[in-house]
């Protein structure tokens, strides 16, 4: 039981890393990785929302869509669910914890468009996960996203002041770095 869940978690973090192996959520990966500080904020916000959204979309699917035989509506419903979860979380956090809102605030609305969130929700259905498994899968995906985002941001901070050949400056060297990181993460295949 415990072993199953830890395998699920490690699988989502390293082996099937959402960014570097499944190539989901690339926009925030390239977009907010310029500074370590923003990357940390984005990671925390994404972890929060991904876990919550995978639970909410599981509930929507199994208690609303499946009983009515409307499985084909899952994509559009999940988009709706994710948008609402993000917006609702933002409101609650702003009211209840100004400190947390200061850390996560600007990143929360951005996550609505993070395709990793929708990807996790849909994969949970495809893999026929139960509620707890969906929760763990979402959390693992978020941890994996956070891990590579923070690692990548740390590298880009160094790259910004490194002596990069002119044609490779800026986004180009970022892409190459991301590609090399992806290669490294492919090495985890077969770990579990």
């Amino acid at each position: 039981m415990l072993a199953d869940y830890s395998i699920l978690l490690i699988g989502a973090i390293l082996v099937n890393n959402f960014v570097l192996v499944q190539f989901l959520g690339l926009c925030p990966f390239m977009g907010v990785s310029n500074k370590l500080e923003t990357a940390m904020g984005m990671s925390m916000a994404t972890t929060f929302v991904l876990t919550l959204a995978s639970a909410a979309s599981y509930l929507t699917y199994n208690f609303l869509l499946a009983p009515l035989g409307l499985e084909y509506l899952r994509t559009i419903s999940f988009i709706l669910v994710i948008a609402v979860v993000v917006q609702f979380t933002e409101m609650v956090v702003r009211k209840s914890s100004p400190l947390l809102h200061k850390v996560l605030g600007v990143y929360l609305p951005l996550i609505t468009t993070n395709c990793a969130v929708l990807g996790v929700a849909l994969l949970n259905i495809n893999k026929e996960h139960n509620f707890l498994q969906s929760l763990f899968y979402g959390f693992g995906a978020a941890l994996g996203f956070s891990l590579v985002l923070v690692l990548f941001a740390a590298m880009r901070e160094r790259l910004a002041v490194a002596d990069v050949p002119v044609p490779f400056r800026g986004a180009a060297i970022g892409m190459i770095t991301a590609g090399l990181m992806s290669l490294a993460f492919m090495g985890f295949a077969g770990l579990v």
Binding site: G69, Q87, E157, V161
Partner: protein, 206 residues
């Protein structure tokens, strides 16, 4: 229920989606009322960047009024000498405007310092206590005054009123608490260049 779905699948789908949307809309509407908050968040963010010296060199009574002026009335962002170039850069990034050099009129950028009262010379006039915007000076009339170093923002405001000139501004030493790992300096980049097409030494250095 299932009869209805098999008979009118399109209608059932529409109903399900509309009710889902209505439900979520009601939830968000409720949350918007229940968790309403006041305050302009951009003012908070600007205030966060300002150094909180409360020195008034910008022409406003403190950092927060200056932050409000920037947010609400398009005040220039280059009037804060304690924040320096780094502060202006951070404000420019936040507000998405061009970074402009520091306005000379409001003073020049100095290293962060704390006030130090030469206690043997202090006559206990309390003038510096009244001038201090953050209550960092301790003392009473005809008693010796002293500065609470951890509270002092280095704003210089106490130096001027002192009748016996016994206040010094001492620049802060790096301590275990304030020390930070320095990033490689982009200016000294040329040192790391191993191969280059340039033939003369000046070009090589550029």
């Amino acid at each position: 229920m299932s009869d209805f779905i098999t008979q009118y699948p399109l209608l059932a789908a529409l109903l399900a989606l509309v009710s889902l949307g209505l439900g979520f809309g009601a939830l968000l509407g409720f949350a918007a009322v229940r968790f309403r908050t006041e305050g302009n968040p951009i003012v908070e963010q600007i205030n966060e960047i300002l150094p909180q010296t409360q020195c008034g060199q910008c022409g406003y009574p403190g950092c927060r009024p200056y932050a409000e002026a920037i947010a609400n009335t398009d005040e220039a962002i280059n009037k804060c000498p304690p924040g320096g170039e780094a502060g202006i850069q951070a404000l420019a990034d936040l507000l998405d405007v061009e970074a402009i050099p520091l306005d000379e009129e409001h003073g020049e950028e100095k290293a962060k310092a704390v006030a130090y009262i030469r206690e043997a010379e202090c006559i206990g006039c309390t003038k510096c206590i009244q001038a201090c915007p953050v209550d960092a000076i301790l003392g009473a009339a005809k008693q010796m005054h002293t500065v609470i170093t951890s509270e002092c923002t280095g704003c210089d405001l106490c130096v001027e009123p002192c009748p016996v000139d016994c206040i010094d501004m001492i620049s802060e030493q790096a301590s275990l608490r304030s020390w930070q790992w320095t990033l490689p300096d982009p200016v000294s980049r040329e040192v790391t260049i191993i191969a280059t097409d340039a033939t003369n030494p000046e070009e090589r250095a550029a």
